[in-house]
Symmetry: C3
Subunit: 160 residues, 3 copies
Amino acid sequence: MPQQKKKTTIILFSGDYDKAMAAYIIANGAAAYDHDVTIFHTFWGLNALRKDAHIPIKKGFLEKMFAKMMPHGADRMGLSRMNFGGIGLKLMKHVMKKHNAMPLPQLIEMAKEQGVKLVACQMTVDLLGLKQEELLDGIEFAGVATYLADASEGNINLFI
Amino acid sequence: MPQQKKKTTIILFSGDYDKAMAAYIIANGAAAYDHDVTIFHTFWGLNALRKDAHIPIKKGFLEKMFAKMMPHGADRMGLSRMNFGGIGLKLMKHVMKKHNAMPLPQLIEMAKEQGVKLVACQMTVDLLGLKQEELLDGIEFAGVATYLADASEGNINLFI
Amino acid sequence: MPQQKKKTTIILFSGDYDKAMAAYIIANGAAAYDHDVTIFHTFWGLNALRKDAHIPIKKGFLEKMFAKMMPHGADRMGLSRMNFGGIGLKLMKHVMKKHNAMPLPQLIEMAKEQGVKLVACQMTVDLLGLKQEELLDGIEFAGVATYLADASEGNINLFI
């Protein structure tokens, strides 16, 4: 009887560039070791899934406000520390290039190629006034029930 | 032989409204799927268990200071991002109402009704100068040993 | 056949004194209950492993900047909340003393004595421009593959 595949599930709650990097590095590593991997993006973590472009969509006033103030995509998120209005992240990206560490948008691309399941939490998508057209293609929309079904079989479950 | 119940344990360290919401939504979901669920509140997460009222208690000076500066209960916690002195949270609550998402105090009430075990970490209760009378009724007080006993049998263990 | 030892793995991403305290209290507790325990320090969590002294090392400009702005060791980290430029932490340490709670440097010392495996994430050590000489003796250097090997057998896996 073949051994069951290991499972890794990550809730990405944070909207910080460095925390999202950690999440995607773990996810890509686990996928490389043949785990079934899922990242559930909720609250500010949804920003990692936004397209890096202005998508014109009709929205209510509050939704427009939230959407406007949140970063448009992975590349525009900030560091959780020493961000200094973006300067810290610029320096970090510079150092990352020097050390051949992948920037976040590429880590996300790689995760998709490796078959990591990217999920957007439907409830918080609605709360933050995001629309499907604003988010990356190929992602799924689901809720806590789907998360629990995956995580309760998970070998590694993290909240980031 | 009946299958053992699944177990979910969450450490709620954060004092942010949105993170506490995430913790309680997962906890309530897991309880609905018949998991044994425990939330261990430690450090700033204890604020979610404070009563929404001023309880007159004799305390030392430092304890009074900490107690005064920390939010009195779940409804007075702030967002981890875009709080803007409370305006962000007000907008969020407004949107939540529109989308029929439960506010945090109701999520906590529901957790209690579903039999989620709410634990306050005794050590940090002492450090922050909180008294039992200030915290919600029906919660337990315990330490790291109790947490480890639960979590080492846990299917889903999260630190939030 | 003897039962296998339980395993606890913690990723310490945070550079906050209180979060690192939580990580080390759980780690020490788990070690006392005979778990195999590993703490993987990554990003700002590496500061907990820095020596509390200025170590003169030749570095590039960016690396010098990062290194300069990050706290030199566990005792110089700040609280995640109510730090107030260090005053909050001073008060917290004062209260901890009164309640016989161990300060972070002692918790780390105890972890080492109990055989908790302390790992520094090689990639982020490089990104933040840290050098081996600046970090505590007796720690290991490893990457995501080592983490995954440990965590996929872990009973308790946390991201802090």
